[in-house]
């Protein structure tokens, strides 16, 4: 199940500033082989054991990964947190929507390639299935926002 929250909440269990959270916390954790592969998949970056990276732009450290890649790693490393995915590109969203047992925040629908059997729950309430259910939920949500003049 993927939990999506669409209303902002001020809580220590929510991550909005993914770059900052990653640079201060996640980057200091050990990266598994799966995470090394995710870094390569998203940023085409090779992660060295000492947390330096090599990309087509040159050498750097793990803190030079893209915001989308950092968001993905925050999510993988901290599945208990609600992570804002609004800075993620379609390549990262595709990976996120293929995951399970994660909690994300988005205030509007993002273009995403969602598996047709993905189980998604909005705001701890409505459960929908796949891309069709996702789009239908957002259509209804936009009707609601329009009616409420939001």
């Amino acid at each position: 199940m993927i939990d999506i929250y669409t209303e902002k909440k001020d809580s220590k269990d929510w991550i909005f500033q993914n770059d900052l959270y990653f640079n201060l916390n996640t980057c200091n954790e050990e990266m598994s082989q799966n995470e090394v592969e995710l870094i390569h998949q998203v940023d085409e970056a090779k992660l060295m054991p000492d947390k330096r990276i090599e990309t087509k732009y040159g050498l750097g450290t793990i803190r030079n990964l893209s915001s989308g890649c950092k968001t993905l790693l925050n999510l993988v490393k901290h599945p208990d947190k609600v992570v804002c995915v609004e800075e993620c590109g379609p390549n990262v969203l595709k990976i996120i929507f293929a995951m399970d047992n994660i909690k994300i925040y988005m205030s509007r629908p993002s273009f995403a390639d969602i598996p047709k059997d993905a189980k998604i729950r909005f705001n701890d309430s409505d459960i929908v299935i796949g891309n069709k259910g996702y789009n239908a939920w957002w259509s209804k949500e936009y009707e609601r926002r329009k009616a409420d003049d939001l």
Partner: protein, 139 residues
């Protein structure tokens, strides 16, 4: 020049070996989107140096490290404003300022265009080809 659309830079061209950037802007507001990992923040970091030159002194940069974005951006006139991490930084007030402060030009690393006066020429992605980096229309 209030009330009129103004381009501060139609092109930004520079070399940063081994790369060369050739960026063309077709609207006062340019939104750079596309996949993650395409080099938006790398470009932002290049502009941190470039803005210190005479030619590009009108460039103003903001990202998640900037203090009080709204107050800072409200001081800008006749500037080329670049905002990285814009999806988490800009609120309705910043969007209003961008829409109505016509003396500035904007390059926003942003996906959510709600409330911005953009055209179909506003949407761009960074293209990396043989160490040459350009802005292309987002399909």
């Amino acid at each position: 020049m209030r009330g009129e659309k103004q381009m501060i830079y139609k092109n930004i061209t520079f070399k940063a070996a081994p790369f060369s950037y050739d960026l063309t802007f077709d609207d006062r507001i340019t939104l750079v989107g596309g996949d993650s990992g395409t080099g938006k923040t790398v470009l932002y970091e290049m502009l941190e140096d470039l803005r210190l030159t005479d030619e590009y002194k009108d460039v103003k940069l903001f990202n998640y490290k900037s203090d009080n974005l709204l107050e800072a951006i409200r001081q800008c006139r006749d500037n080329f404003i670049v905002i990285d991490n814009a999806d988490i930084l800009i609120n309705d007030d910043v969007r209003k300022f961008i829409n109505f402060e016509f003396s500035n030009q904007y390059m926003l690393f942003l996906r959510n265009c709600d409330g911005l006066n953009v055209s179909d020429k506003s949407f761009k992605v960074l293209k990396f080809d043989n160490n040459r980096i350009t802005l292309e229309e987002e399909l």
